[in-house]
């Protein structure tokens, strides 16, 4: 019996239509937009100004504190603007715009394809490189990686978990990366493991619907004593930090506690690859892999993109635009990420960012919500909730504005995985209301 997390969860169709598409390099965009909010934490501070010439890999923005990350030029050329631009959700953020000229890289970056296997660097150096190269978590939250690797008093890490579950339907970028660059991923993971401590054990969790990835990673881990691959039953949201720790270690993260309180640190396989490139090759986080997908089988790609490429350019390369540059008419929604937790794109001119993992194209039939019906108290939302919350109750309390009770019913345990709304036969906007209530509560708390 394969392992899985113990509470709730759903089994959506995994729809991994693009899984056999090898990773392809996207053409270098004519212009990139580098927003300063590509990570969780304080926005970065630009260190270039209009007219500056930059090379690929050159730092263009400094971190604004510890929980922040620098940004590097993903193309070479001239900075044409440092101004407010709407990001993919329409929020205006300080953005560095670079007009591409050629493809000139910093000399310090090793651009050869050769895998640099031996680790010659000490952990302190690794940590410094991860910080300087702007590595952030590529599993979705984009939390600066060096912060997660910083020891916390009294919470010694025992396990480094590498998240290869890719439980979001449709997305296949992590899967392709594991198949094509498993060795590099493991070197990156090993580098992080050494930062945490030599006695830390490494576990790679991969869902069973990716047998090739399991096979590939198993073969590689054979040479690494401290690493093992654990196949997981396919179940959403297995890739959630708390769920993955539960699945692999049978330990549960308490409300408001950090995952490290259970002795485990979770890093995404994409992050491990970025760490490998940063430390072994001297390459900052200027590119990543994303899937362009949807149930329309003609648009299925896995691309290596330069950070800051306009979404429009990627869709064009994937053949999702018509000759006038408009989105093919049967698509009504573009999601940055997967169908469960991704965010709808408001503006196609906006760029993809460091942590973009997919562009999902949805048709009206797939994504349009039915009118909500009456709650029949079937409790399916409660059964699906991986945090054992009562979504129907939180929804009613949120509607009634009974905020104190929301707190009492652990609304902040909600990981916004979407299982409740996905499951609800009456299509009641459970998560929408819970999310609104959470935000309102947070604002209140900050005021106090």
């Amino acid at each position: 019996m394969s392992k899985t997390f113990s509470i709730g969860g759903i089994h959506p169709n995994d729809s991994k239509f693009s899984k056999d598409q090898a990773i392809e390099d996207l053409p270098i965009p004519k212009r990139v937009f580098l927003p300063m909010n590509q990570h969780l934490g304080m926005p970065s501070v630009p260190v270039v100004k209009k007219g500056d010439r930059v090379k690929v890999g050159q730092k263009v923005a400094d971190p604004a504190g510890f929980v922040s990350a620098p940004v590097h030029a993903s193309v070479s050329g001239t900075v044409t603007e440092v101004a407010l631009y709407p990001d993919f959700q329409g929020k205006r953020v300080t953005t560095i715009v670079i007009e591409t000229e050629g493809d000139e890289w910093l000399e310090s970056i090793d651009r050869t394809q050769q895998v640099k296997q031996e680790i010659t660097i000490v952990p302190e150096e690794t940590f410094r490189k991860i910080t300087e190269m702007g590595i952030v978590g590529l599993g979705g939250a984009a939390f600066p990686t060096h912060v997660k690797l910083t020891p916390i008093e009294g919470m010694a890490p025992e396990y480094l978990i590498l998240n290869g579950s890719e439980c979001e339907p449709f997305l296949t970028s992590d899967y392709r990366l594991m198949i094509e660059h498993g060795q590099e991923i493991l070197i990156g993971a090993e580098l992080m493991r050494r930062v945490l401590g030599t006695n830390v054990n490494g576990i790679i969790g991969i869902e069973e619907n990716k047998p090739l990835a399991i096979q590939a990673m198993k073969k590689i881990t054979a040479n690494y004593l401290q690493w093992k691959v654990v196949p997981l039953k396919k179940r959403y949201p297995q890739g959630g930090e708390k769920q993955l720790i539960d699945a692999l270690l049978q330990r549960k993260v308490a409300s408001f506690a950090l995952p490290i309180s259970t002795g485990a640190i979770v890093q995404n396989v994409g992050t491990a690859f970025a760490v490998y490139e940063a430390v072994q090759k001297g390459k900052p986080l200027i590119s990543n892999v994303l899937t362009v997908t949807g149930s329309d089988l003609s648009v299925q790609e896995n691309y290596r993109f330069r950070v800051g490429t306009p979404i429009q350019d990627i869709l064009e390369a994937a053949g999702a635009l018509d000759k006038d540059g408009k989105l093919l008419s049967h698509f009504v929604k573009v999601v940055n990420g997967g169908p469960m937790m991704g965010k709808a794109v408001v503006n196609l001119q906006a760029p993809v960012v460091k942590s973009s993992s997919g562009l999902l194209l949805l048709t009206e039939k797939e994504t349009k919500r039915r009118e909500p019906g009456e709650c029949i108290r079937c409790a399916k939302c409660f059964q699906a909730c991986p945090m054992r919350l009562q979504p129907y109750l939180l929804y009613q309390l949120a509607l009634a504005g009974r905020t104190e009770e929301l707190d009492e019913h652990r609304v902040f345990d909600c990981i916004e995985c979407g299982c409740c709304l996905y499951t609800c036969p009456a299509r009641i906007p459970l998560l929408d209301q819970i999310r609104l209530a959470k935000n309102a509560l947070l604002k209140n708390k900050r005021k106090k």
Binding site: G263, A379, P425
Partner: protein, 347 residues
């Protein structure tokens, strides 16, 4: 520029719908319906039809003309209520009584509370108990089920005219529970009663038990139960809690005095226990939402059922038991589920 649809995650949804769930319940009731048709033919069909049509019509009229909203009958919940109500009635129920049942079930028990999802009590059960108290003669004149299909079926006059004592004696009989209750009161032993009235467990299981339409065959009900489980419409917690509680309760009594108290199998197979446990106590709207709540609910139903069957005035108590526990559901739902993780635990 394209106009993009922008909405919060998730961006796709499961296929389950309220209507689909109701359709599954209807499918699960098919075996029981077929058994009733096989045993009582046209008269069963008439009761079923009037009940379903009546429930749907009452809901449509109320929503459309009293609440002035778009009709809700397409969610099929009224069909389910109609079917379950019919299965709770004797084959010989007169048409007007069935219709009154529909008005009580949908009009009083469901719509006055605000319709689907808002009712406190199971609508079909409210109607059944209402009819049982209002028309005790019609509600307890059980036709002996013996598979009559002929047009001269004397049950049809019963349906059209109402029972006025014109049914031949051979066609009416008391339910096993009624026989046992009365027999025991008169000091006859269980064994003697069973021999005298010729009821066997296999008969009760496969469908030769007299009683309401849906009570005839335990097998048919169990088939429906399996279907509901396979389709994940219901969880087995409530039915199992009821059955186990009844088995334990009656088992202890039977052990203490086998002459005075029937054995557990008799209690499980007789009356409306399985029909109630599988199809009425599991009604989403009127049952608890957490597993612990479901256990409390089921155990409560089991205990009250046995109290009524053994010491109460009525031979059967499932309906009352479920209705009583329905009333406690809002309280039971107040029990908080175990938190995901209370405090930090290190292994």
């Amino acid at each position: 520029m394209n106009k993009l649809l922008v909405s919060p995650a998730p961006h796709w949804y499961g296929k389950e719908t309220t209507q689909g769930i109701m359709r599954d319940v209807i499918i699960a009731l098919v075996p029981a319906v077929l058994v009733s048709l096989y045993l009582a033919g046209v008269s069963a069909l008439l009761v079923l039809m009037v009940s379903v049509a009546g429930c749907v019509l009452v809901e449509h009229l109320i929503v459309r003309y009293m609440m002035k909203k778009k009709t809700t009958v397409h969610d099929l919940s009224a069909v389910v209520t109609g079917l379950i109500l019919a299965l709770n009635l004797p084959v010989s129920s007169p048409w007007w009584m069935v219709l009154i049942g529909c008005v009580v079930a949908i009009g009083v028990a469901k719509m006055t509370f605000g319709g689907l999802g808002h009712n406190l009590f199971n609508p079909a059960l409210v109607a059944r108990v209402f009819l049982l108290i209002s028309f005790p003669v019609q509600m307890t004149n059980w036709a002996v089920a013996n598979g009559i299909f002929t047009p001269e079926n004397p049950l049809i006059p019963g349906f059209l005219l109402g029972l006025q004592g014109q049914l031949p004696d051979a066609l009416t009989g008391a339910t096993p529970l009624g026989i046992v209750k009365e027999g025991l009161a008169n000091g006859v032993s269980i064994k003697a009663l069973a021999a005298q009235h010729n009821f066997s467990y296999s008969g009760m299981f496969f469908g030769h038990m007299s009683g309401s339409l849906g009570e005839a065959s335990a097998l048919a009900l169990l088939l429906g139960f399996i279907y509901l489980l396979v389709r994940k419409v219901i969880r087995p917690i409530v039915p199992l809690s009821i059955v186990i509680t009844v088995a334990l309760f009656s088992g202890l009594l039977h052990l203490a005095d086998p002459i005075q108290y029937a054995d557990p199998l008799f209690h499980l197979l007789s009356g409306g226990l399985l029909l109630g446990a599988i199809f009425m106590a599991t009604d989403y709207v009127t049952s608890p939402m957490s597993p612990l709540g479901m256990i409390i609910f089921g155990v409560g139903i089991g205990i009250i059922t046995m109290l009524i069957r053994v010491w109460g005035a009525y031979p059967e108590g499932v309906s009352f038991a479920i209705l009583f526990m329905n009333a406690l559901v809002p309280l039971i739902n107040k029990i908080k589920p175990f938190p995901y993780q209370k405090e930090v635990k290190r292994g």
